[in-house]
Amino acid sequence: MRAKARILNFVAVAMMLGLMQNQTAQAAPPSSQTRSKPSQSLAIVVNRSNPIDNLSYRELRKIFLGERNHWPNGHRIAVAMLDYGQPERETVLRLIYRLDESGYQDRLLRGMFLGDVFVAPKTLASPLILRKFVFNAPGAIGYLRASDVDDSVKVIRIDGMLPDNKDYRLQIDERSAE
């Protein structure tokens, strides 16, 4: 009986993720006007009310993998992901999740099915929407090209380094997206 319930739960989660995938696929691709000159650095951004200024690379992985759910101020962590096929997403999957797209989907489904992941990451259509999402949600965390960052969000240091640091680890590989 319990196994049957787990299977039904898994199917429901799978359907929900499929729906989300369709919705984001229908969303308009990011226009060239909303994207400024590409930069190789990928900035990790949080809401400006978030007291966190610095995260270690390890903590960052835990947050994105759903292993950590709350910020020190008590707000629930809401991870924002860009839509499929965008270089920033590919970079995050490669450098933070260390998974490819299908591996990420499998892990997400499994985590939700098993109850390890309470809230699936929000999949957003463009960096502009992602930036607005982070601006509106106090517990949000997401990523943007350094050139897409503005004052509405806060860039946090990773291992004490900002995106303009030459040793910054999160660099976008444009070829991976192609």
């Binding site: 989300m20 984001t24 969303a27 629930r76 809401a78 924002a80 929407i129 999402f133 509106n136 949600a137």
Partner: protein, 496 residues
């Protein structure tokens, strides 16, 4: 002889009656003009008063318009602005609630964006309201609204955060427990402000109604005032005209009666003399001669009186018609001498004529100028006493650009007291009357009017016991024609 003297006396008395009638007629005309002008002035004053009241009404209307405009800008536009503000506030809340209805992060962000856009409009509106607040109550209301709106926005941000973070249950709970009461307070504040605007609009509307009522009252009063005084003025003017017309008719009747009487006197003398001859009462050639003389003298006087009255009437008209043309001075003088030749011979008078050679021509009517000189020559003969001499001279006055024709006598002269009146119609010197010198008192008046009508003038210099000199001054042909054109263009243009 007695009969002849009696006739002369009667003729003088008739002339006085004519003078009296003329003076009364003139006075009546003057009174009529004055009366008409007084009422016209009164009518103008009434119209001026009307215009003054009209200005007051216009001022009130302008003030009403200003008040209405102020009311529109202040209250009506304020109400409209707050209607928009209320809508924006609702939109803020509505967009927040829409975000609850979807799991799509993109849509949620859109709704959050809409909510923030709407709340910026509300915040700006409140700031504007506070900046324009005039009363303490408005300021208090504005500050309260600002505070309540800020509180609601804080809750709204938390609700949006929870929605975006994936905690819809907590978002709903927070909205119901804190958001709804906070928004109700905002709505209540907005209602109170709208009520304030409504109250202000009502007060200003009442003020406008008061202005309008006052304007209507003034306008009605003004119209009634104008109607009343206009009616009175028109009635008075009509009455004055009627009275003047009746008075004038009466005076004209008197004038006609006087002239008739004056005419009847010589006619009666002629009839009497004629009847005596017919009835055989006149015996002897001497008596017959005397009666014949009475008849011819009285007929002559009658003819002279009629001629003088007609001539005076002609010169009295506003537009006497003259046959203007260029005339030589010697031609005019010769015509006058020719006409008075019989008179001079009868009186046994001598005449000296001295005309400067090469005088420039003058412009005038030959018959009029000749008549003028005839009157002056006849006067010179009548008043020359025993010294029957008449001198006529014509010369050029280069400085005045005029021709001067003077008629001189060596007679009794004119007393200073009479000089001011000798050109008045029907005036006769008491000495002349006493001396039984015949005349109607119209000759000098006619001469003066005739010369002035031609652009010239008539003056006199006299000395008692030495004689008098009457001088006719006429401009040269060029000057004359220009002067006459300036004064009497219609007469000149009428000439072929």
């Amino acid at each position: 002889m007695e009969l002849r003297n009696g006739m002369a006396k009667a003729t003088d008395l008739g002339a006085r009656q004519i003078v009296s009638a003329y003076v009364q007629t003139s006075k009546a005309l003057l009174a009529r003009k004055l009366s008409r002008h007084i009422w016209t002035i009164l009518l103008l004053l009434v119209l001026g008063g009307e215009a003054g009241v009209g200005l007051f009404v216009i001022r009130d209307l302008a003030r009403s318009y200003t008040t209405v405009e102020k009311m529109y800008n202040g209250s009506v536009q304020g109400l409209l602005r707050f209607g928009d503000l209320e809508f924006e506030a609702q939109e803020t809340r509505r967009s927040t609630l829409y975000a609850l209805t979807t799991n799509d992060g993109n849509l949620q962000v859109d709704y959050a964006d809409q909510s923030r856009k709407a709340d910026r409009g509300v915040t700006q509106g409140i700031i504007q309201y506070l900046a324009q607040a005039h009363s303490r109550r408005e300021s208090e209301l504005g500050q309260r609204l600002q505070s309540d709106w800020g509180a609601y926005l804080k809750v709204r941000d938390d609700v949006l955060g929870l929605i975006l973070e994936g905690s819809p249950k907590e978002a709903v709970h927070l909205d119901l427990s804190v958001g709804v009461p906070a928004f109700d307070r905002v709505r209540q504040d907005l209602e109170e402000i709208k009520e304030t605007y409504s109250e202000q609009a009502s007060q200003q509307l009442a003020a406008v109604a008061e202005f309008s009522r006052r304007s209507m009252t003034r306008l009605t009063a003004s119209l009634l005032f104008g109607l009343l005084f206009g009616s009175v003025a028109i009635w008075a003017i009509q009455k004055s005209r009627m009275r003047s017309a009746v008075q004038l008719a009466n005076l004209q009747m008197d004038f006609v009666a006087s002239v008739s009487h004056e005419l009847r006197t010589p006619i009666t003398a002629i009839l009497t003399a004629g009847e005596n001859i017919r009835d055989g009462l006149v015996l002897g050639s001497e008596s017959l001669f005397e009666h014949g003389s009475v008849i011819t003298d009285q007929a002559g006087r009658l003819s002279e009186l009629v001629d003088q009255v007609l001539l005076f009437a002609a010169t009295s008209t506003a537009r006497p018609s003259h046959l203007l043309r260029e005339l030589r001075v010697d031609e005019v003088v010769a015509d006058a001498i020719r006409s008075t030749k019989g008179l001079l011979e009868k009186a046994g008078a001598t005449m000296d004529v001295k005309i400067e050679p090469g005088l420039p021509p003058i412009v005038g009517d030959l018959s009029v100028l000749s008549q003028c000189l005839e009157n002056l020559i006849a006067n010179a003969v009548k008043y020359s006493a025993g010294n029957r001499w008449v001198g006529i001279a014509a010369r050029l006055n280069q400085a005045a650009q005029e021709i001067e024709i003077s008629v001189q006598d060596r007679g009794i002269g004119i007393p200073a007291s009479d000089l001011a009146h000798i050109f008045e119609p029907f005036y006769r010197s008491p000495q002349a009357v006493a001396a039984h010198i015949p005349g109607t008192g119209l000759g000098l008046s006619i001469a003066k009017r005739s010369v002035e009508a031609l652009g010239g003038g008539l003056s006199v210099s006299t000395q008692i016991g030495v004689g008098s000199v009457f001088t006719v001054r006429l401009p040269f042909a060029n000057e004359a024609s220009q002067g006459i054109r300036r004064r009497r263009v219609p007469e000149l243009e009428r000439q072929p």
